[in-house]
């Protein structure tokens, strides 16, 4: 459930932020993520940012995926 999409924070005004993905922009609420900053990526669900995306973890995940994938090549 729960369609949520990673979007970039472009500007912040109080409890609202302007976010962008692929050129699509929308004003959303950051009531649930008051720690969000401009240039952060947040997960957008029904017009609210529900979490700030951890870029370091994202890169780490890609690394883990590459490692997992190369384990198979030994055989």
């Amino acid at each position: 459930m729960c369609l949520a999409v990673p979007v970039k924070v472009v500007s912040i005004e109080g409890i609202e932020a302007e976010v962008e993905i692929g050129g699509v922009k929308r004003r959303v609420s950051i009531m649930l993520t008051p720690e969000a900053r401009v240039s952060d990526y947040v997960l957008l669900h029904t017009g609210y940012a529900i979490n700030v995306i951890d870029e370091a973890e994202a890169l780490e995940t890609l690394k883990i995926l590459e490692e997992m994938a190369s384990l198979d090549e030994v055989h």
């Binding site: 459930m1 369609l3 993905i21 050129g23 699509v24 922009k25 957008l44 029904t46």
Partner: protein, 335 residues
Amino acid sequence: MNDEIILLAHGSGSRLSHELIEKNFLPSLANPLLAKLDDSAVFDLSGRLAFTTDSYVVSPIFFPGGDIGKLAVCGTINDLAMSGAVPLYLSLSFIIEEGLTLGELKKVVSSIKAAAEEAGVKIVTGDTKVVNRGSADKLFINTSGIGIVPEGIDISGVNAKVGDKVILSGNIGDHGIAVMSQREGLKFSVPVQSDCAPLNKLVSQMLEASSQIHCMRDPTRGGLATTLNELARQSKIGIRIEEETIPVHDGVRAACELLGFDPLYVANEGKLIAIVAPGDAEKILARMKRNRYGAGASIIGEVTDEHKGKVIMRTRLGASRIVDMLSGELLPRIC
């Protein structure tokens, strides 16, 4: 003056009606047949005729890249073009909701004029009715169109043959997303415009390049998926498409992610699908790319004798899945 609103009286055949037509419609859409203001347009025509009709009820009536007027003209021209016909004459009927401003109406008429001029068609007869507030959503337009199908052309949904290639003329989903982004309750700012465009000249050029075009259809409501399914059913063949070859504008992709849409089901108003003999596919493609409305064209699949009546897509991951018709409305979702 543009704030002036349309009243019931403007549709009643009264002096106000005549004023509306003579001051606003005629000057924009002027041509000898329309100017006569007879009850019907009378003209000579010989050959195989193509005849189509459509009603336009889009809401909102103005959207990025167009409006209901442009849509009405292009939609009807394209229906004729999809049979290989050269579009010639259109009829134009307005059903106006009392309260629409004259300014809005003039804008629509101006779009109609521009679209008709680009396509080289004439609007030769029309009608105007005004209904009570609440009985129409600002403006409804009905059009019908007549064209001539050149000799030797036989394009129909039943003509697809096994081995044929499927060509798509460009990006999918632009129109549907442009309109949806303006709806109350859903507003987004999107970097896409409706792709609404008259395709008759593109089609003429394609027909010059090859006589082996078996089917053509424009993927309007229901999107690419629904139209391909219609063709598969009509011709009683299967269609196989490759996900990777289907062009989608980044903005459309992003908007679809946000709303939970699949671009395959989003409406287009300036695109066509052509099913053509495999030997001529590259030639037709090359010709299409030289036209601004075919610049993004690509071969997206082929006709097979397996899974007749169905459309199968090979996903980027290499798995195959069924692409069904759209059932019911395309609704945004949270899940």
